[in-house]
């Protein structure tokens, strides 16, 4: 890894050297881009994978089960083998879109301890900043404000990277994968996990994590429950949970209290799009990330996005695939830079039962023979069917699924032929 702080103009700048940024860099290089710079705010590349020490990564990409650090190291190595430079401890503060003149670059204002503040000019930029956790403040849990209340990812970092114990008796709010993984991790480290509490009537984690993280260690999961009070002076002493009704309102009289010193919150992830907004890209309120076409290009030509900054993925393997698509997209943009084509685009609309789709559209002329459309359903459903309809309501294709769940992103393969007849298609869960 080189830390050349002299070079201030590049063809492709990538913001973030986590799994998305690394895979995008490798794919862009393999598609012919040679002048790439990765910008990473942490002291090393790899992103959040470095603290995800559990196994289960890489089954799609590598055909084997790896831990997070192993998955990251393989991609760090791939980037290093290609000589792709990474600037570490480098924060991108702002991205200015190109001035409205032929060939004008993006301007990235960066800050770091090695060089102070600098401006990097790039012909194309890939956004790969990832996401951050929702906090206690975001969900408004009432009560005291003692220490011992952590987001699950912060606790994961403290335990797995820094070697601290976060507490001895824990309640976990939220049954997303990070909450489930941390229930097992705390138990293995000798803490007592009293319960996992989930607001929704179903878990938002993968079924296998319920099995291997909760059931293996006899940790109870309370669905349709939430934390309604926190007590403690200095340190957390007691957490109250209550059952909620169909409108997710706590039901009086159902309170249960747990004496504990730790509360972990695994209550959602938010794509981190401050830079995207500063650059002026259009945002999809459903995903919290930018609107993109199939090549992961945002509404600003030459500005791409991939990974959790675009939409929160449940598998890093999907992030890798998407980032490779963005890397190839940026390479194609750079190869044809200067030519502007007003291409006809085909849009994808989330219909009944579908939360969002990514991509949001595809350029008809540039569409590959087949490509993947990712989406999440709103409700769990066994034996579900997702249908794709054209603007007249004609069914183009049906995909049968043994189980649909909001926690499990669906990936549907769409061919160029399927979008030949119209300019807008809706995806729905069949009634």
């Amino acid at each position: 890894m080189t830390q050349n702080t002299e070079k201030l103009t590049v063809d492709l700048a990538i913001v973030g050297a986590g799994p998305a940024g690394l895979a995008a860099a490798v794919a862009a290089y393999d598609s012919g881009v040679r002048d790439i710079l990765l910008l990473e705010r942490d002291k090393e590349p790899g992103g959040i994978l470095n603290q995800c020490i559990h196994n289960g990564f890489g089954l799609h990409v590598f055909g084997e089960e790896l831990t997070g650090p192993e998955y990251a190291e393989r991609f760090v190595r791939q980037a290093a083998e290609r000589g792709i430079p990474i600037r570490l401890e480098t924060m991108v503060l702002d991205i200015e879109p190109p001035a409205p003149r032929e060939g004008a670059p993006f301007r990235l204002h960066i800050l770091g301890p090695l060089f102070g503040d600098q401006t990097i000019e790039a012909k194309s930029v890939i956004l790969a900043m990832g996401c951050r956790e929702r906090t206690r403040g975001a969900i408004g849990i009432p009560g005291d404000r003692p220490s011992g209340v952590f987001t699950a990812g912060t606790a994961q970092r403290l335990i797995n990277r820094e070697g601290f114990s976060v507490g001895k008796r824990a309640v976990i709010l939220g049954s997303g994968d990070i909450g489930l993984i941390m229930a097992r991790r705390l138990t293995l480290e000798g803490a007592k996990v009293l319960c996992v509490v989930e607001l929704m009537p179903y878990s938002n984690g993968l079924a296998r994590n319920i099995a291997q993280c909760l059931n293996d260690f006899n940790v109870p999961l309370y669905l349709s429950h939430t934390v309604t009070d926190i007590k403690g002076h200095g340190r957390l002493e007691e957490v109250t949970i209550s059952e909620v009704d169909a409108n997710r309102v706590p039901i009086p009289g159902t309170e249960k209290t747990y004496a504990c010193d730790t509360l972990l919150l695994s209550v959602g992830l938010i794509p981190e799009n401050e830079l995207t907004r500063l650059a002026g890209a259009a945002i999809d309120p459903r995903t919290g990330g930018p609107l993109v076409s199939e090549d992961r290009q945002t509404s600003i030509p030459g500005l791409f996005a991939c990974g959790n900054v675009l939409h929160v993925h449940d598998l890093v393997d999907f992030v890798t695939g998407e980032a490779a698509r963005a890397g190839k997209g940026a390479a194609a943009y750079l190869a044809g830079a200067g030519q502007t084509t007003a291409e006809e685009s085909v849009s994808f609309v989330p219909g009944q039962g579908i939360g969002y789709t990514v991509p949001h559209m595809v350029e008809r002329a540039a569409a590959p023979q087949s490509f993947t459309v990712f989406m999440r359903v709103r409700q769990p459903k066994p034996d579900g069917v997702i249908v794709m309809k054209d603007a007249e309501g004609t069914v183009i294709k049906r995909w049968k699924r043994p189980r649909l769940a909001p926690a499990e992103m669906e990936e549907l393969t769409v061919t160029k032929q399927m979008i030949a007849g119209g300019d807008s298609y809706t995806f729905e869960v069949e009634e």
Binding site: N50, I53, H54, N55, G56, L59, E65, T67, G68, P69, E70, A72, E73, I159, N160, R161, E162, G163, L188, E189, L206, A207, R208, I210, A211, Q212, N215, D216, D314, L315, P402, E408
Partner: protein, 118 residues
């Protein structure tokens, strides 16, 4: 008949296993059959954790090293394996895949480093 959620991949198939007849239903791939039969008679898990690190000159290193069992070990050995892992301190440098301890908790499986460090 016993039912399990397959943990081999994120799909999480619901398996129905008959341990007598050694049959598995509900799996969408052959991995599920292997997992289902093993889970019914001899459940195993890959164990991941961290160990403390020292620099080459013996000073404590401010980061933990992630580790894992090379292959899955019997579920009953998770707790004794954790006791052994807690007692390990490794000295830098470490390469991903380095064997840190052979035969962890008598499982005949090695504990290996999940990343390179130092």
């Amino acid at each position: 008949m016993v039912t399990f959620t397959c943990i081999t991949c994120p799909r999480g198939c619901r398996l129905e296993v008959d341990p007598e007849k050694k049959t598995v239903a509900g799996n969408l791939c052959p991995r599920g059959e292997t997992y289902g039969l093993a889970e019914a008679c001899h459940p195993v898990r890959v164990l991941t954790s961290t160990v403390a690190v020292r620099t080459a000159d013996g000073a404590p290193f401010p980061e933990m090293l992630p580790v894992r069992t090379q292959t899955a070990i019997p579920k009953g050995l998770l707790s004794p394996a954790m006791d052994e892992i807690r007692a390990i301190t490794v000295t830098l440098p470490v390469k991903m895949g380095d064997v840190l301890k052979e035969n962890i908790a008598g499982s005949a499986v090695a504990l290996i480093a999940s990343r390179s460090l130092g």
